[in-house]
Symmetry: C2
Subunit: 448 residues, 2 copies
């Protein structure tokens, strides 16, 4: 029987006062180079001076101690803050944004937005019918309609119950929790390195696009219409699984053929670590995604959406807190720093150096690791078995490198945007030493 993985629990107690930049300190006095950065959620490193300076700002303090109902009584400065932060880095073609408290709420609200727009399209009106209003409070159709969102195998979109339905990455996330019976599309299982398997991977992607088409067609014919298709640019929790720009363009095309929304979940990929603010900017899409959800490095959750997804009834997607005005204000310092220090350019440089270094590891330890892959500093490498992966992570930590697991067999690199090419040798000295130790222990085991 497949046991539930127990690797992802409390790792250690951190000393955040002594943590600085790329380095995390723990309570025992250890300092580690951190290439995991709180599951990719620290944008410019620990205790960045630009962020610390914000905490003396009177507006920051006011927002911290007066947590208000943002949708009802915003601060007069709130629109300016949005202009300076979330709207300043809005993806091309997406002029609207709504905040949420976390990544799961970002996806939940994006899905609601997509459902509302789909029903409006179906009935040819934004106003629900009398029958819909009459059936809604009991949770029955047509008021609460039979619609679905199509997710992909190995996808991860958060852990609230709605999000869990489109999440298919690990059993431990979903088991024992009820799920909507929404169909699942197939994510291409590509071979790495991508440039060596161009034809096989193209065939695999074509196969998966065909499955997607048939999946939507079948569910629509069964009366559970697909209002949207949701995916990550890189399936992060599911194991850093890639697909090509052509695949994403293909998914968008199919979704739009069925009038379904093309929903991109950038909670982990957004914020700069692929070398662009949004990973979907690598795809050369003919038109923007319909929704783009975010959290983590953006410091607040939320989603961007196209004009045609704007509900005429503002209260339909609302709640008390609606995201944190204090945290989004901090984002200004993050974006200023990214610009001033050209951090996206640095990510590309550091990513290239890290890529070459991980290729060297593949070459030196072919029995231990394979499938180095990534864009920018958003990288992963896979182990031949889970024990080796877990042992390597622990050995790294003991030698001063904090990295994270990814899927069942991989280690992921998610350094902050301030990680430089100079950090790569420090990373690799420890990573290589860990691989040596793990290889040696595997050999001892094999000959025992």
């Amino acid at each position: 029987m497949k046991k539930m993985s127990r690797t992802e629990q409390t790792m250690f107690f951190a000393d955040y006062e002594r943590s600085r930049g790329n380095y995390i300190a723990d309570v025992d006095g250890n300092v580690m180079l951190d290439v995991y950065q709180q599951i990719a959620s620290i944008p410019i490193g620990y205790n960045h001076p630009a962020l610390l300076a914000m905490t003396d700002d009177p507006y920051f303090k006011t927002m911290a101690v007066n947590r208000h109902a943002l949708g009802f009584m915003p601060h007069s400065n709130h629109m300016n803050t949005l202009d300076d932060t979330l709207l300043r880095v809005k993806p091309k073609g997406l002029d609207n944004v709504q905040m949420a408290m976390c990544g799961s709420c970002a996806v939940e609200t994006a899905m609601k937005c997509v459902f509302i727009r789909y029903r409006s399209m179906q009935r040819g009106s934004t106003e629900p019918t009398e029958e819909e209003m009459a059936t809604t409070l009991e949770g029955k159709t047509p008021g609460c309609p039979n619609l679905c969102i199509i997710g992909f195998t190995k996808g991860f979109h958060g852990r609230t119950i709605g999000c869990l339905t489109v999440t298919h990455s690990k059993e431990i996330h979903k088991v024992d929790i009820p799920s909507f019976p929404w169909p699942v599309a197939r994510w291409p299982e590509l071979k790495y390195p991508l440039h060596q398997y161009v034809q096989e991977n193209e065939e695999e992607e074509a196969r998966c696009l065909e499955i997607l088409y048939n999946t939507i067609k079948a569910t629509n014919e069964a009366g559970v219409h697909a209002a949207g298709v949701i995916l990550e640019p890189i399936q992060a929790e599911g194991g850093d699984n890639y697909a090509s720009p052509a695949f994403f363009r293909g998914v968008q095309k199919i979704a739009h053929e069925f009038n379904a929304a093309f929903m991109v979940d950038e909670v982990q990929t957004g914020g700069g670590s692929t070398g662009k603010m949004w990973a979907h900017e690598h795809w050369d899409l003919p038109t923007a995604p319909d929704t783009v959800s975010f959290a983590k490095k953006m410091l607040v959750g939320g989603y961007y959406f196209k004009d045609e997804y704007l509900s005429p009834h503002p209260y339909r997607i609302q709640n008390t807190w609606m995201g944190d005005p204090m945290r989004v204000y901090l984002l200004k310092a993050v974006l200023d720093t990214i610009e001033k220090d050209n951090l996206l350019g640095r990510v590309v440089e550091a990513g290239d150096v890290l890529d070459v270094a991980l290729q060297d590891m593949e070459a030196e330890f072919p029995d231990v690791v394979h499938s180095n892959r990534g864009i920018g500093t958003f990288r992963a490498i896979t182990f031949h078995n889970q024990d080796a992966r877990n042992m390597t992570m622990m050995a790294c930590r003991n030698m001063g490198l904090n990295c994270g697991p990814c899927g069942d067999m991989a280690i992921r690199f998610r350094p902050a945007l301030i990680y430089t090419p100079d950090h790569v040798p420090i990373t690799m000295n420890i990573f290589r030493a860990a691989l040596v130790a793990v290889r040696d222990s595997m050999r001892v085991e094999a000959t025992a």
Copy 2:
């Protein structure tokens, strides 16, 4: 056709720098006595000195700029913070707490906790079977089981998709969003004042308890077992609908007869405004609720739960942020202030004075308002029609009193815990003037 209510949208832009204590300022220079307090979410008023002082605390600043993965790498001080805050005011019999980002996530995670415990009980093991693990990733039974949570008519539990399923307060919250087909129990429709309708209300509650029993029995027999029953101590969004302590004890007894969890949602009622930290403490329950969810005045979301609801697999209810260590640290200043200034005692005093004042309004304006009701300063009064309610709210605002709507026809009072008996006459002078104006305009209309 019933139109969607549009009363609850952006009301005004606030000047939070100039807001103080019970008074909110707007950008036009107006200052209003605020008895709504951001939908009941400001515990000790605007810009309380004890909270502002915390913003100079180095630990506060560290938590603000280093938003970490709390479940994986907590700060060494985090357990102390929990002891000083959430665990310090834990309801009797509930020794465990888990944080979440908001009220919806609090309810989502409480529901997950309840589902996991129910399945463990059903199969006699905390470990899922091979078949369950094999079916989970596709979202199919038995891995994703056919279980439900029973909510009540008019109940409100948040607006993520799982929460929406147990929410039945307003059409605008739910329409066009898919819902699990979970059964709904009937909330008693009591007559006010409660002491005048003791027998009728007892009969109504007995009827609703019988419906609850039959609802659970029927869904269990249909194979969609009820893992829990969720309710609010006072149905706040649904219109401040009350039930008696005996009713709540009856619900708990029925839930436990079916091995279902008794889940109390204290997102709006918790935090002191009923004169106790938790509204369910008014019920004299024979044993604690199985889960108690909170947010709003507690500054963070989360839920308390009994020992037998603790999952043996900590990663099953987890995510990246898992609540905000900075906000929960601020809660210490809130709880210190509640103790030092005996705010719960003050709430009882102010509530009694407010109650009498609202009774006077009922007597003076019987054609306009009725059904004054409440516990502590958690109070509401109902209007004979929605227009009169909305006009009164607007008139109050124009004269310097900010109050909020509640259900279709009521106005709710949700002052901060620092509201005193001396604020009642200020409140009532304006409220009465608004009622006079509304009554006069109704008379003009009637004779026109």
